[in-house]
Amino acid sequence: MRPFSKRYFIVCSSLVLLLISSFTFAADEKVNLGRQNYILNCQGCHLPDASGSPGVVPRMNDFVGNFLHLEGGREFIVQVPGSANAPIGDQELADVLNWMLVNFSKEQIPVDFEPYTGKEIGILRDQPLIDVNGTRARLIERMRKKLGIKEDALNDV
């Protein structure tokens, strides 16, 4: 058996630490970019706290995660034109949507939520949504029935 090598231990643990920190750094970058993409592409209408504008722009704060509980809801979050048409790539859109859910609607996210991936975004973007208001209205109705949520986060004050 080889005697325990201090040098070996240091090198290995340094590599592990480097690996962990690079993941963390990459994760931090994703968070920063997610936040920045929210600011550049979403905040102008949905506002810095995602509270929207009554009657005019939907509120996402403490709400948007509800869609994830409904059939078609996960897709809707991606396919709504504000998301699907954002001038950012598929992975970036996945990152900003994940960031947004955690940052604004953590309480509503289902426990088994799988974060969006770039691949999934790409597939969903290829199926553009034309009847946006109708789709949202049907989901809100389902939300009311299945989750007992009374508000629609658009016309509420």
Partner: protein, 178 residues
């Protein structure tokens, strides 16, 4: 650019012009000067290959003057500068309402070379201020992509859509794309 000489010539030799018309034209004239001499580009776009090779901005007074179309934050603005209207570049004049809904762009600060995210909120509810009209259009695009379109009246979500002037709020530093 003969037409450019022509326009600056014609603007400077005008006499007894209607002041509102002069301010409107001045907005274009200054923008032309700004655009030709001091291009201000967001780094994120430059990294994608847009406008690479543009010269860096020479630092001069106008670039730091919030009442100038060449103020570094005004790289893509369409309207009256609130600094000339009883407000500042970051606050609305008395009695107006700041629109919560807005459009957001990026401008490079020539002092530190960083790209800042700028929110161009309108101040609304009163008739046009009429002073310091500017129309710069870096990365502006037509109204079919609204969140990069500055020709839209962004007095939305306010009790009145009457447009008065525009502020330029810094929201943060734009980081490079991953």
């Amino acid at each position: 650019m003969k037409w450019f000489d022509h326009i600056t010539e014609s603007i400077s030799r005008k006499v007894a012009q209607n002041s509102s018309r002069r301010s409107f034209i001045g907005g274009f004239g200054t923008a032309i000067v700004g655009g030709a001499v001091i291009p201000i580009l967001p780094v994120a776009r430059a990294a994608e290959g847009h406008g690479g090779g543009q010269p860096t901005a020479p630092i001069d007074g106008a670039v730091d003057d919030p009442a100038s179309c060449d103020y570094w934050r005004n790289c893509s603005i369409d309207g009256f500068l609130c600094s000339c209207c009883g407000g500042t570049s970051t606050s609305c004049p008395p009695g107006t309402e700041m629109s919560p809904i807005t459009w957001i762009g990026t401008c490079k600060n020539p002092h530190d070379g960083k790209d800042y995210i700028i929110s161009y909120n309108d101040c609304c509810g009163k008739t046009s201020c009429g002073n310091c009209f500017c129309n710069t259009n870096l990365l502006d695009r037509p109204t079919y992509r609204p969140h990069t379109a500055n020709d839209i009246n962004w007095c939305l979500g306010t009790s009145s859509a009457a447009y008065h002037c525009t502020v330029t709020l810094v929201l943060g530093v734009a980081t490079k794309k991953a």
